[in-house]
C-alpha cells in the first residue's frame, strides 16, 4: 500500500481501509478534467442565457451567431462535454481515494483518454463556432455537419473509454489484492457507471464512426436515417443514467458522512446500481414513441423495461431518508419529522445535493409521464421535455456536482473550503433553485400548451395559441438570468478554491457502513453475471426493431445543410 504524507485524520474502517487522500499525481489528472469541465460550463451557460433572452422576444443575437448554433453549443458543451469530463474526473478521484493511488500505467491511460477527449472537444466546438455543425447535440441525420465535427465526437467517445480504463483497472487491482472482501462501495459504483457508459456508447460509436463519418466525408452517399436515430437513442437514454449515477454516489457514500451519519445498507446500494445498469440501456426507444418505422409492440416492451427503474429509484429514496432519520434521531430528534430540523442546512456541501434530491421528485414524476406510451404524444418534443431535464440533469445531477466540487477541488489543490465561501455556496444553491423554479416550471406549463422545443422566438403567423406561450418565455428569461448568475457564483467559488483560499486539508468525505447493516451478498460484485443478463435484455429489446429497420429500410438519405 502507498505510503502517505499526511497524517490520517479519520479512523480506519475495514470497508474503506487504507488511503484517505487522493494521491497527488492523481489529483493533477482529476483537476485537468475539472478544468475542461468548468470552461465548458461557462461557455454552455453563456449560450443558455442567450437562448432565454432570444426566446423572450426582446433580444436578437448579434450578426454572425445563429440561434441553433448557440443551442448546439449549449447541448454539446453541457450535456456531452461538461458532464463527461466532470464525471470521469470525479470517478478517478473517488477510486484513488478509496481503492488507492493509480499505478503509473493506470494514470497514463487516464491522461491519454483525457487528451483524446480534449482534442475531440476542441474539434467539435470549433466546427460549431464556424457554423459548420449546427445540428444540435443529437445530430440527427440527414442534417449533415462537417466531418471534423463527427471526428471530434468520435474522439470524445473513444477517449472516454481509455480514460475510464485507468480507474476501473485500479478497482480490479484492489479486488485481486483483497480476495473475498467487498470492494470499496464508491469504487464499485464508479465501475458500474463505467460499464454502463461503455455498453451504451457502443451504439453512438457505431453510429458516428461507421455511418456518419464516412457519409460526411463523402465516402458513401446515403445514410439510413432511422438506424442512426435508433443507435443514438440506444445511447441517449443510458446517457441520462450516466449523469445521475455519480450524483447517487455522492448521495450514498458522501452525504451520510457530511451529516455525521452512516451508510444505511451497502448491499441495497449495490443492488440499486446493478438495477440501473440493467434497466437503463434496453429502453432507448421510449424516445422514439412517435417515430414511424418501429412497431407498437416493440415500443411497448421498452416502455415496460423503462418503468423498472422505479424500483432502484425507490430503494435510493428510502436509503436517503433512512440515513437522514437515523442521524436526526441520534442527535435527539423526536416526532415524525423532527429529524429534519437536525440536518446541517447551513452546509453548502449538504444543501446543494439536497435541493438536487428534492428536484428529482417532480423530475422523476415527469419522466414517468414522458415514457408513458400513448401519453408521450401530449408532451413529445414540446418544451415540457426541456423543462424535465433541467430538473433532472441541470438540477439533480448538476447541483450535486456543485456540492461535491466544494470539497473535491480544495481536497485536490490542498486548500480549504472557507466559511465565507460556504455562505456563497448557500447563496449559489438558492439562486439555482429560484432560477429553476421560473425556468423549469415555465417550460413545463408552456409545453402543456403545445409549445415546441428547440425553437427560436416565433409568433407562428399570429396564431392565438402561440400568444399564450409568450409570458412563459418571459418567465424562462427571468429564471435563466438567475441561473447564469448562479453559474458565475459557482465558478467564482471554484477559482478561489483552486488558487486563493488558505492552504490546508479539506476532507474527501466517505461514510462508513452502519454497524447494524448486513453483509453484502458477493453475487452483487460478480459483473459476469450482470453482463450476461444485460446482454440478454438488450437482445430482447432491440433485435426485432433493429432487424426490421434494416430489413424494411427505404432508400437512404443524402445530406442536407439547412442552416
Amino acid at each position: 500500500m502507498k505510503k502517505q504524507k499526511q497524517k490520517p485524520t479519520e479512523s480506519f474502517s475495514a470497508k474503506t481501509a487504507g488511503v484517505l487522500k487522493v494521491d497527488n499525481k492523481d489529483a493533477h489528472l482529476v483537476l485537468a478534467h475539472m478544468y475542461v469541465a468548468f470552461i465548458a460550463l461557462l461557455l454552455g451557460a453563456t449560450a443558455g442565457l442567450l437562448q432565454v433572452l432570444v426566446r423572450s422576444g426582446y433580444f436578437e443575437l448579434p450578426a454572425p451567431l445563429g440561434y441553433y448554433q448557440i443551442l448546439t453549443i449549449h447541448g454539446v458543451l453541457l450535456a456531452l462535454v461538461f458532464t463527461t469530463f466532470f464525471i470521469l474526473g470525479f470517478q478517478t478521484a473517488a477510486v484513488s481515494r478509496t481503492s488507492g493511488a493509480l499505478s503509473d500505467t493506470q494514470r497514463i491511460l487516464g491522461w491519454i483518454g483525457f487528451w483524446l477527449m480534449t482534442i475531440g472537444t476542441i474539434m467539435a466546438t470549433i466546427m460549431i463556432l464556424l457554423n459548420e455543425a449546427s445540428v444540435l447535440y443529437t445530430f440527427y441525420a440527414p442534417l449533415k455537419a462537417h466531418w471534423i465535427f463527427y471526428l471530434g465526437l468520435a474522439l470524445l467517445i473513444i477517449g472516454s473509454w481509455v480514460d475510464l480504463m485507468g480507474h476501473c483497472l485500479r478497482w480490479e487491482q484492489w479486488r485481486k489484492e483483497n480476495p473475498r472482501k467487498t470492494t470499496p462501495l464508491i469504487s464499485f459504483m464508479a465501475v458500474c457507471n463505467s460499464l454502463l457508459w461503455v455498453v451504451a456508447t457502443l451504439g453512438v460509436a457505431i453510429e458516428v464512426v461507421f455511418l456518419l463519418l464516412p457519409w460526411s466525408f463523402g465516402l458513401v452517399e446515403r445514410v439510413d436515417v432511422l438506424l442512426t436515430r435508433t443507435l443514438f437513442w440506444y445511447f441517449g437514454h443510458a446517457l441520462v443514467y450516466f449523469w445521475l449515477l455519480p450524483a447517487y454516489m455522492v448521495w450514498y457514500c458522501v452525504i451520510p458522512k457530511i451529516i455525521g451519519g452512516k451508510i444505511f445498507s451497502d448491499g441495497l446500494a449495490r443492488l440499486s446500481f446493478i438495477m440501473f445498469i440493467l434497466f437503463s440501456i434496453p429502453v432507448g426507444i421510449h424516445h422514439q414513441l412517435t417515430d414511424p418505422g418501429i412497431d407498437s409492440p416493440s415500443k411497448y416492451i421498452q416502455v415496460v423495461l423503462t418503468m423498472m427503474v422505479v424500483i432502484p429509484s425507490m430503494i435510493t429514496a428510502f436509503s436517503m431518508f433512512a440515513t437522514f432519520e437515523m442521524r436526526g434521531r441520534e442527535l435527539g430528534a423526536t416526532g415524525l419529522f423532527g429529524w429534519l430540523k437536525k440536518l446541517p442546512w447551513g452546509d453548502a456541501r449538504f444543501l446543494a445535493p439536497f435541493v438536487g434530491m428534492v428536484a428529482f421528485v417532480p423530475g422523476g414524476a415527469g419522466g414517468i409521464i414522458n415514457a408513458s406510451f400513448q401519453m408521450n404524444q401530449v408532451v413529445h418534443n414540446t418544451i415540457w421535455v426541456t423543462g424535465h431535464f433541467h430538473l433532472t440533469l441541470a438540477t439533480t445531477a448538476v447541483l450535486t456536482f456543485f456540492g461535491a466540487s466544494y470539497w473535491l477541488i480544495p481536497h485536490l489543490t490542498g486548500r480549504i473550503f472557507t466559511p465565507s465561501l460556504n455562505r456563497l455556496g448557500i447563496i449559489q444553491t438558492i439562486c439555482w433553485a429560484v432560477g429553476m423554479l421560473f425556468l423549469a416550471i415555465g417550460m413545463h406549463f408552456e409545453g402543456l400548451l403545445g409549445a415546441p422545443r428547440r425553437s427560436a422566438f416565433s409568433n407562428y403567423g399570429g396564431a392565438e395559441i402561440a400568444e399564450t406561450w409568450a409570458s412563459y418565455q418571459i418567465a424562462q428569461a427571468i429564471g435563466g438570468t438567475f441561473l447564469f448568475i448562479g453559474i458565475i457564483i459557482f465558478l467564482y467559488i471554484c477559482v478561489s478554491l483552486w488558487w486563493f483560499t488558505p492552504k490546508g486539508e479539506q476532507e474527501f468525505p466517505i461514510a462508513e457502513l452502519a454497524p447494524q447493516a448486513e453483509k453484502t451478498p458477493p453475487i452483487l460484485e460478480n459483473f459476469k453475471v450482470w453482463i450476461v443478463i444485460l446482454a440478454a435484455l438488450i437482445l430482447i429489446a432491440y433485435t426485432f426493431p433493429i432487424y426490421n429497420i434494416i430489413e424494411n429500410s427505404p432508400i437512404g438519405s443524402k445530406g442536407f445543410k439547412l442552416w
Binding site: 440527427y140 442534417l143 415546441p452 453484502t520
Partner: protein, 158 residues
C-alpha cells in the same frame, strides 16, 4: 439480504403501482387500440411528389374505410403543403404525412396529435376531431434555420 420492514412496504407499494400502471397502458394499447403512431410504411423521399397519396396533398373525403377523411400532408424545409386544412367537426380523420428532406415534426398544438415525419417513412395517426376551432400545426423537430417559422393551420369547422 434482509429488508427493513418499512422498506418492504415501500417497495411493495412501488412494485404494485408499477404493475397497475403498465397494465393500464397495455390494455389501452392492445385492447382499445390506442397506440402511439407506429406506421411502418416506407417511401422514396426523393419521389414524394410523384407517389400517391402525396402527389395530391390536402383533405380528401373517403368512403368504405374506418375513417371519413384523409389529411395528406408533405413536410419540407420549411413549410407544410398544404398550408391550411379544413375538416368538419366530429369526423374521424387520418393524418398521413411524410418528409421530402430532413426530419420534421408534426404537432397539432394543444392536442395529442403529435408525430415525427422522417424521410423515407410515412407517418399515420387516426383520431376524431370533436371540437371546432383553429388549431396551429407546428414543426417540433429542429430542421434548420427556418424551423420556428414552419407551421400550418388545421381548421375544424361546424
Amino acid at each position: 439480504m434482509h429488508l427493513h420492514k418499512y422498506e418492504k412496504y415501500w417497495l411493495i407499494f412501488g412494485g404494485a403501482s408499477l404493475i397497475v400502471f403498465l397494465l393500464i397502458t397495455g390494455i389501452m394499447a392492445f385492447h382499445y387500440g390506442s397506440h402511439p403512431p407506429s406506421s411502418i410504411k416506407t417511401i422514396n423521399y426523393e419521389k414524394v411528389d410523384e407517389i400517391a397519396p402525396f402527389n395530391n396533398p390536402g383533405v380528401h373525403r373517403v368512403s368504405g374505410k374506418d375513417w371519413d377523411y384523409e389529411v395528406v400532408l408533405v413536410a419540407s424545409a420549411f413549410y407544410y403543403n398544404p398550408a391550411e386544412l379544413h375538416v368538419p367537426k366530429g369526423s374521424k380523420v387520418k393524418f398521413i404525412i411524410t418528409s421530402k428532406d430532413v426530419i420534421h415534426g408534426f404537432e397539432v398544438a394543444g392536442t395529442n396529435v403529435n408525430m415525427m415525419a422522417e424521410p423515407g417513412y410515412i407517418s399515420e395517426y387516426t383520431t376524431t376531431v370533436d371540437k371546432a376551432g383553429d388549431y396551429l400545426i407546428v414543426c417540433n423537430e429542429y430542421c434548420g434555420v427556418g424551423h420556428a417559422q414552419m407551421h400550418s393551420m388545421l381548421k375544424v369547422v361546424d
